[in-house]
Symmetry: C2
Subunit: 341 residues, 2 copies
DNA sequence: AATAAAAAAGTGCTCGTGCACATAAGGAGG
DNA sequence: CCTCCTTATGTGCACGAGCACTTTTTTATT
């Protein structure tokens, strides 16, 4: 039989209200009474009943605001599906979601969206652009009691509660480990990244190089090209790379542009002798896996990222559960043709 | 603003009680009234508030009983961790868990446990032995309104609500696909299974063979040995196999006994030229991955199996959500050294 | 038409928490 | 000793659903 506030009140010979004030740190309680209540709560092993909390919370009509730079980026499709699942579950508790999407890293646009939803929401989930004005805005929200969680991209030096995302470095490590297994530990490698300016891309390369160094001394990274997350650019750059370095027999695709890279490889008639490994699981990449052009891809649980983040917001609003600052890093998953679904 | 029973009652000019009776199929309502209520509920988009339901349910002191054949089987360690996480969450709603474990496939023992917990529980999660007496017992529980979900092993022809487990066939397919990538599609393969009598083991082999046939015509399965899920036995049988078929250069470990298999391979000095792939992620297998003896392992989300199952029981008890009969099959995950954690 | 029985509909309390408001106790100043 | 003010504590209702119990309406029987 679970312990309730009423039971604590009775064992202390005191009213529910006072116990409630102590347990929710709402002050106005004599020091010794507080001490008594805290100790008996601990002794009886009090755990608040979430149903009660959630029911009381319905009065408040909470809304969780979400801003994603997701337009034109297939990766976010699954993130949004995860958000949708969580939404279904939390609307059962009377909490709603307000999702705004945008395209590209435009600071002005993101600031605009932030201003637009500010007075409509009680919590913010954002895929932030790393810019001082955005950081200021996050801090401002936080001070006005709209707490913030960042998703997929982070701004560490802000007042966000925590960050939910992936360990890009580990992702690169896994990619290299997988390539090690696929090649027998000997390969001449080309890396196709989106842009060397983007943190996540760099981190993946750092992880990749780490495993190269420590585990596969016969791996040689011959060239790194920038695709600008664009297939046309990826195609041209890959063509150049293959011409310049015909010895390359393995490619690690760090970000978008997989189709362009693969097209260049296929047109050069080298799809049989170049082993390609990629990131994420977009429809495009699934197709390339089916065709056998890409051998494996490293995913970062996009669905789980969306689902977990909304759930954390819910927990915060309903039961003031403050998430740990770290530890919300999703696993990296290896996908091959046979376990796509 | 979410729709409540009260709102439906008001728009119909009728009392809450009647609406409640209709929505919970408790009868004693005139046909036309029922029709009116159902249509307005649909029109307004009524979704019951879970917090309210859960709060009302606390009165009932629900207990979920769990019986697992987990002793001495490391696979279940993570299943139990998942159960533990779900337990933490649902005790917040005043629902408790009663876990009983047993060792080995002893029908008598399992029947005993079932009788022992029967009058203490409101829901049963069981890892059943495929035996008629167990099926009868499950049906009996179900009739007496203690609904049942099977986990990891199933008894299809019983009155269980659903089964949570993995797709063993898909697991075998993934293993074969991975081996295809690791060997370049050409290999002489030995399979080490637990017992040909166990359904899950067979299914994995069937899936493995399917991909062999369809995708890797140069794969040849030369031998299948039975380890009895025992390392000593696995060691001896593997030794025999390697002596008899020295051409074998790949091994698929279907079930337990990985340590024994690997020991035989290592002692024969063949760990460099035999590629081993295994199932599950026990501490023993992690060690073998670290040492490089095993190249990859195919897991079946044990944590998720435990977590999800308890959650489904919770949903059933609190909001009468009957799970779909199928569709509770966890994904199979490829793990290599670099993405173990 | 009167009465009993059955069917249908309505009422009020419970679950645990949160919070506004009401009340009580204690202390300072006149 | 009374008033005023501060601090401490108690009370009652709300949240949404469930269910026992009561009341009203309808139907059947004489």
């Amino acid at each position: 039989m679970a312990v309730t506030i009423k039971q604590i009140a009775e064992t202390c010979n005191i009213s529910r209200g006072t116990v409630d004030r102590v347990l929710n740190n709402r002050g106005k309680v004599k020091a010794e009474t507080e001490e008594l209540i805290r100790s008996t709560a601990a002794k009886l092993g009090y755990k608040p009943n979430l149903a009660g909390k959630a029911l009381a919370a319905t009065k408040k009509n909470y809304v969780i605001g979400i801003i994603l730079i997701s337009e034109g980026n297939k990766f976010y499709d699954d993130v949004i599906k995860g958000i949708g699942q969580a939404e279904q579950e939390i609307t059962d508790y009377g909490i709603r979601i307000l999702l705004k999407t945008m395209k590209g890293y435009q600071v002005e646009k993101q600031l605009e969206l932030l201003d637009e939803i500010k007075d409509k929401i009680n919590f913010l989930i954002i895929n932030p652009i790393n810019d001082d004005r955005i950081i200021d805005k996050i801090n401002q929200f936080s001070e006005e009691n709209i707490k913030v969680i960042t998703i997929n991209t982070d701004v560490e030096n802000s007042a966000r509660l925590c960050h939910v995302g992936c360990d890009y470095k580990k992702s690169g490590e896994t990619a290299c480990g997988m390539l090690g297994l696929l090649t027998g530990g000997e390969a001449n490698i080309g890396i196709a990244t989106g842009s060397v300016k983007i943190l996540g891309h760099n981190q993946r390369i750092i992880g990749f190089n780490k495993v190269c160094r420590e585990k596969y001394p016969k791996f040689q990274v011959t060239d790194i090209i920038e695709t600008n997350d664009d297939d046309v650019c990826a195609f041209i750059e890959t063509q150049k790379m293959l011409q310049k370095y015909p010895a390359i027999n393995a490619i690690y695709i760090v970000a978008a542009g997989a189709y362009g890279v693969c097209k260049a490889v296929t047109e050069a008639g080298r799809e049989k002798d170049i082993i390609i490994i990629s990131s994420d699981k977009t429809p495009e990449i699934i197709k390339l896996l089916r065709e056998g052009t890409i051998k494996a891809t490293i995913c970062q649980q996009p669905w789980t990222q969306g689902y977990k983040t909304v759930n954390m917001a819910f927990q915060y609003l309903v039961s003031s559960v403050v998430p740990e600052k770290e530890l919300h890093i999703v696993k990296n998953e290896i996908k091959i043709l046979q376990n796509l679904k």
